[in-house]
Symmetry: C2
């Protein structure tokens, strides 16, 4: 098993190879500094609605890129960067969710067979992309150190609907010392297409956004919050997956498993011009 520092130093290609071989299934500490993305895969006929859904909700659903229709090995180059070399969106994620009619029907190691020729994958920025920057600045996320999955919660914050897609924000949470919020806001605000700065913080705001029990996340694992810390909430790329489930489409649809995104070949310095 790799140490956290070994995971941080993996290249994206090395990480994806280990994942394909079933030897890595923790993503929060992997390949620090490289873009990680959440994924949903759906029939092309919903693609326009979904794109507009992302455009209308850029904080929880920042669309980074798309695959070619029917081909998960081609990641179209919206930003004119090479995003995925010798990669496959249908195999390079540790765990996939298969949804049908609004229900999770199975969790798969890959979705090669499922990815039909009329399906397109959408890649949505993930807050794991700024874990490296937080770590370097002296704010390593506790879940990374513990080797668990970040805590994620459904909220009562409404999304702007688009066609068949609507729903509510999902957020990720990291405990941060109360007097460090401004510093953490500043660091993460640079990662606009990976949810950017937090959308809420503190126990009072947690209740306001509909999180009744912080110890019971809807996705991922619970995490301890120390006495001098408060919970800080970021938009989360599980949001579009939740909206996809709520859309209750007649076709099967696919996503990454919450907390297990895809690592791309592009470095944050190139993507964000940091």
């Amino acid at each position: 098993m790799l140490t956290i520092d070994q995971m941080r130093e993996l290249s994206p290609a090395e990480a994806r190879l280990l994942i394909r071989e079933g030897k890595l299934d923790q993503m929060g500490s992997v390949a620090d500094g490289y873009m990680q993305v959440n994924m949903v895969c759906l029939p092309e006929k919903y693609a326009d609605d979904f794109r507009e859904f992302c455009r209308r909700n850029p904080v929880p659903c920042p669309l980074v890129s798309e695959t070619a229709v029917g081909d998960p090995t081609v990641v179209l180059d919206v930003q004119k960067h090479k995003l995925l070399e010798n990669g496959n969106v249908a195999t390079d994620i540790p765990k996939y969710c298969v949804y049908h009619g609004g229900d999770l029907v199975s969790v798969e190691k890959n979705i090669v067979e499922q990815w039909k020729e009329n399906y397109v994958g959408f890649l949505i920025g993930c807050s794991f992309s700024f874990e490296g920057a937080l770590h370097k600045a002296g704010f390593p996320s506790r879940y990374r150190i513990k080797g668990t999955v970040v805590s994620m919660y459904k909220t009562n914050i409404k999304l702007c609907p688009s066609g068949v897609f609507k729903g509510y924000y999902v957020v990720s949470m990291r405990p941060i010392k109360a007097d460090k919020i401004e510093e953490v806001r500043k660091i993460t605000s640079k990662y606009g297409q990976c949810h950017g700065s937090p959308i809420a913080w503190g126990y009072e705001e947690a209740l306001e956004i509909g999180i009744k029990d912080i110890a019971k996340p809807d996705y991922g694992d619970p995490i301890e919050i120390l006495e001098d810390e408060i919970p800080v909430f970021w938009g989360c790329g599980v949001t579009p997956q939740y909206a996809l489930v709520e859309a209750n489409l007649p076709e099967e649809v696919y996503s990454h498993h919450p907390g297990f995104p895809l690592v791309l070949d592009i470095h944050e310095n190139d993507f964000f011009g940091l």
Copy 2:
């Protein structure tokens, strides 16, 4: 007094001249097909926070353009289009709000004296821009025909915060026949930078988004809803103004008066490529 058809046929320059002369104070029917924009004016030191606030909330706060700092006659050309010729953002709006410390302190005919050299104006897309298209398609808004101001409501839908700015969506409402919702969604969805398609519709969703009494709008005038109609809600450019008030800044800040936006020289066909 002009008839509704005379108002619809005014050119933007003619409309702005009449406004400057105090001869026109209804904007919903003016210069059909031309872009109308809401306005807030604030000290430059808040500009970055405000821009990011718009980026994070593109449906209620679609930023179309900005003035030069200290000069309301220069509308910077984000889209490489000429937006305002021989115009002045400080005089060409029928009514302005002056806010201080979170309170409305006065309503003015112009803000020439108030617009100090460190102030910048932000122009935010207005749903009046698609009134012409609705009218042409057989859905003339009732408030236009009555010569009143569109109904606007504060909601419980949270905005994504940015720096000092946070708050809740404001929405505008138009009664639409229940079986015409899809058609109206399709028409307005083309106007992405003017709030695009509606974010909610029907009496049940009105309650859900926190509108308790549709007969009592927070801004503008009430409007009759016929038996075969339902209320349909769009993002509204009064949202940033409300966020500005909530920010409770120590400096004076300015805005258009809700329902009285600025008409620009650019036609929707050129702006949206319709």
